[in-house]
């Protein structure tokens, strides 16, 4: 196999001298949003975060006006913590893995637009508060009930197939891309794909199954699974390629089976 087939990234052959970042600013939650544009020299291997760091060092707009540095969240910079999620050129994604060359190639221009996620309270500039996603995990009992953390030997045997399937769901980093893209998700009216997939993760586990009823009950509340409109946008934007519509489908199936046969348990 020749090397070149797998060097699939197109290189930016004629980079601009400078790049512009058009950033949506907001001083604090509830304040009016405004736009500011910054211009920095082009360098190879920039990602959106290193560009933001450059701007933060010396926050002067493209037309020379001194301003406050844009605020954003960042931590791992390896697309595994989920914190640096924002809307870049109209698409929700992690800013650490948004490479400037790729963005310039895709648009053909030299301006990159940054906005905060719109479905969560906007703390300031590009920073949002996603704490309700963690509340949703409580609603679906996203954990295994242990007898205790003392030594009780290994867990149950699990087939490679189930381990693989669960691993895919377990990679969810609570970034919120799926909620940002979901037409049904707004405020707290729909729990959204993230928590449903986490319920699925635990319902697939031989011990987690024992608590399936509680999880499904959590998903039958007013903001629950029934609000899914099957637009499947979540699948498009999930950076971990988690099969979210499948989790929703299978969980719906579990709920149906559960309500059909629920009376047998009584």
């Amino acid at each position: 196999m020749s090397t070149n087939e797998h060097v699939h990234k197109k290189k930016l052959t004629d980079p601009p001298k400078t790049i512009k970042f058009k950033i949506q600013r907001r001083e604090k939650e509830g304040a009016d949003a405004r736009w500011e544009t910054f211009e920095i020299p082009y360098r190879r291997n920039l990602n959106v975060i290193s560009a933001l760091m450059e701007i933060r060092k010396n926050p002067v707009t493209a037309d020379g006006k001194e301003t406050t540095p844009p605020v954003w969240d960042m931590s791992c910079l390896e697309q595994v913590c989920g914190i640096c999620t924002m809307v870049i050129n109209g698409r929700v994604r992690q800013s650490c893995s948004a490479l400037v060359d790729d963005l310039l190639l895709a648009t053909g221009g030299n301006t990159i637009t940054l906005q905060p996620m719109s479905k969560f309270p906007n703390v300031r500039d590009l920073k949002v508060d996603r704490s309700r996603m963690f509340e949703h995990l409580k609603q679906v009992n996203a954990w295994i009930e242990l007898d205790g953390t003392y030594d009780l030997g290994p867990g149950p045997h699990i087939s490679t197939e189930v381990a693989h399937e669960r691993y895919v769901y377990s990679r969810c980093m609570t970034c919120g891309c799926c909620l940002e893209a979901c037409p049904q998700y707004s405020e707290d009216q729909y729990i959204g794909p993230q928590a449903i997939a986490q319920a699925r993760l635990f319902n697939m586990h031989p011990v987690g199954k024992l608590e399936m009823d509680e999880r499904l009950n959590g998903l039958m509340e007013e903001n629950g699974i029934a609000n899914c409109g099957n637009a499947q946008n979540c699948l498009e934007v999930c950076p971990m390629s988690i099969p979210l519509p499948r989790a929703i489908y299978e969980t719906n199936r579990d709920i149906t089976v559960n309500s059909l046969f629920g009376w047998l348990k009584k």
């Binding site: 060097v7 291997n45 290193s50 913590c81 290994p154 669960r166 691993y167 377990s170």
Partner: protein
């Protein structure tokens, strides 16, 4: 708070902090959990390859004692041996517990836990969940702690940064002061005991494999208030990272554990694509020099070899890079066992490592040093405990791969009962009413006010860049005394200039400027500990290598470095290492048995 219930504050919500929180909540006590980020986003998520435990499922005759021996030998005999032995003995049960919590570990055909090879051992001892094991283990603890949060035992303060301890007149820790990172509000936390679990200080080196939260700021604050800092000079430089503009991204040792081979073209300046270079024109220098361990020599050894090869001009294209090659392994196997890390490489570099050898170079990764603790995770400040990367106790002069996840969990599990035992017996007295918390809070507020008011014109981010550069250039793989001295001078210059910073953010709501300024000040203090510890240690041991003193010198330096804060910088002293279980012997990975 019921009087029978203890209140423990834990700083840091990574593996160590969550492990301790779970144990304390389970024992019926109350936890205040303080974390700069939502705990599920802690740096533990970045650990990739796995967690060690001698479960011996491959019929190799592995045992917890061999794990212990590998760890002590790997650490070049600098670790106190009793806690290392305890950790290795507990390791299989720790892995089983995570298995019970539902971690999707990779499995054998029979449905058992699978184990892979890692550096510094000849056994399959590393349990793994694909190549995102840290993420998976952290999530399991996050889930358990969330359950305890629902049950009212854990109060999370996410988006809060610890600024200082609250110490009483007898230097006993009675709580801490933390800052809300949105409002900059300061709050005093009363606690019967405090557990530090704040991870490593990689950001002192500017770019490292660490997350942006890994400043070491909170541990530095403890040090400046009287906590001893041990073995600061032992900084692990990981052999395989992906250089980037904003950070050095980790390429897990598991790539070599699964058979990855390190090489450079035999001919310097060979410009052919790596796939076109025939086998006999490639130099597999690790395999050639270390026939038994090959590419799985410990990190300090691999890092020095790669560094030297590049220094001598043999790097790929004459640059600071070598190939890490997986292309001889079937793509499907790679996807299954290493998918997550291959995706990271592909995402950031653009080549698919299943078909194109990766280009990698060493990068700052882990601190073996940290807060001094005794064998029960107690620091020298009564009421203050430490666990995980921020304590120094397990890894000696060099950490073996896949021992960090283990030591974090072990540390948390050991600190929790130790802190509870202390808290049960400590006299609370009038500590909640005698004003020490208020006084400390006012002191911290004054520091914030000073930062906001300062108008000297220095740029804090530029100072940080200068710190990172001088530390990376002089206090990493190869160390010379004259350059270490010059580095310390430079740090002191930066400390001077820090007095004259002007924050460039007039909007203090959720500003990054004030927290970063405070972190930078603390990083500068810790940088001196690292640098002067290195300057003073005239030998080579594990990750600490001085060409002018190339041998290990047990007579003078089989000792733990202890740094204590004084207004004029760190005062260094040395204490003997507990070698009661294994006699120190020469460390030589060219031989197959040790």
């Amino acid at each position: 708070m019921a009087s029978s219930s203890l209140k423990i504050a834990i700083v840091g919500g990574g593996l160590a902090g969550l492990a301790a929180a779970m144990k304390i909540a389970e024992a019926g006590h109350e936890v205040d959990l303080i974390s700069v980020v939502p705990v599920k986003r802690s740096h533990s998520v970045c650990a990739q390859g796995g967690i060690n435990g001698a479960v011996n499922t491959k019929g190799e005759g592995d045992s917890t004692f061999i794990h212990f021996d590998d760890t002590v030998y790997g650490g070049d005999f600098l670790a106190n041996q009793p806690p290392v032995k305890k950790m290795c003995d507990q390791a299989p049960n720790i892995i089983y517990l995570f298995d019970r919590m539902g971690v999707p570990f990779s499995r054998t055909k029979e449905g058992l836990l699978d184990f892979r090879r890692f550096g510094g051992t000849l056994h399959h001892r590393t349990a793994f969940a694909g190549a995102s094991t840290g993420q998976q283990l952290l999530y399991a603890l996050d889930e358990q702690v969330r359950h305890w949060e629902v049950n009212g035992k854990v109060n999370k303060y996410e988006g809060w940064e610890m600024l200082s301890l609250v110490l009483d007149d007898h230097q006993v820790c009675r709580g801490l002061i933390a800052m809300n990172l949105q409002s900059l509000e300061l709050k005093a936390f009363y606690a019967d005991a405090v557990i530090m679990a704040t991870g490593g200080p990689g950001l002192i080196f500017g770019k490292s494999t660490n997350s942006m939260t890994c400043t070491g700021s909170a541990t530095s604050a403890c040090y400046q208030q009287g906590a001893k800092y041990a073995n600061g000079e032992f900084i692990q430089v990981h052999p395989t990272s992906i250089p980037g503009e904003d950070k050095l991204r980790l390429m897990s040792e598991s790539a070599r554990g699964e058979g990855g081979r390190v090489w450079v073209p035999k001919a310097d300046g060979d410009v052919r694509p790596p796939q076109d270079i025939p086998q006999d024109e490639r130099w597999y220098f690790l395999e050639e020099r270390y026939p038994a361990y090959g590419n799985l020599v410990p990190r300090d050894v691999a890092t020095r070899e790669i560094f030297q090869v590049c220094l001598e001009g043999h790097g790929v294209g004459g640059e600071n890079q070598v190939y890490l090659d997986l292309t001889h392994i079937p793509a499907a196997t790679l996807t299954e066992r290493l998918g997550a890390i291959l995706e990271i490489y592909e995402m950031f570099v653009g080549d698919d490592p299943r078909y194109v050898p990766m280009r990698i170079f060493p990068g700052v990764h882990y601190s073996m040093g940290g807060l001094w603790v005794d064998f029960e995770q107690r620091t020298n400040i009564p009421g203050l405990f430490a666990a995980g990367e921020c304590d120094y106790s397990i890894h000696g002069a060099n950490r073996l791969g896949a021992n960090s996840l283990l030591s974090c969990v072990y540390g948390g599990f050991a600190a929790a009962p130790s802190a509870m035992e202390y808290a049960k017996n400590v006299e609370r007295g009038n500590t909640e009413t005698n004003g020490i918390h208020d006084a400390e809070l006012r002191r911290q507020q004054a520091i914030n006010d000073g930062i906001v008011a300062s108008t000297g014109g220095e740029n804090q981010y530029k100072l940080h860049e200068e710190l990172g550069k001088v530390m990376t250039d002089n206090v990493t793989v190869v160390r010379y005394n004259d350059r270490l001295k010059a580095t310390d001078d430079k740090i002191r210059e930066l400390q001077e200039r820090f007095q004259n910073i002007s924050i460039n953010d007039s909007n203090l709501w959720a500003t990054q400027a004030v927290p970063h300024a405070r972190q930078l000040k603390n990083m500068l203090e810790l940088a001196r500990v690292i640098t002067l510890g290195a300057l003073n240690r005239n030998e080579s041991r594990g990750a600490h290598y001085k060409p002018d003193f190339p041998e290990r010198n047990d007579a003078e330096f089989l000792k733990t470095t202890i740094a204590e804060y004084t207004g004029e910088g760190p005062a260094l002293s040395y204490e003997p290492v507990d070698i009661s279980l294994l006699e120190p012997r020469e460390r030589n990975y060219k031989k197959s048995s040790h």
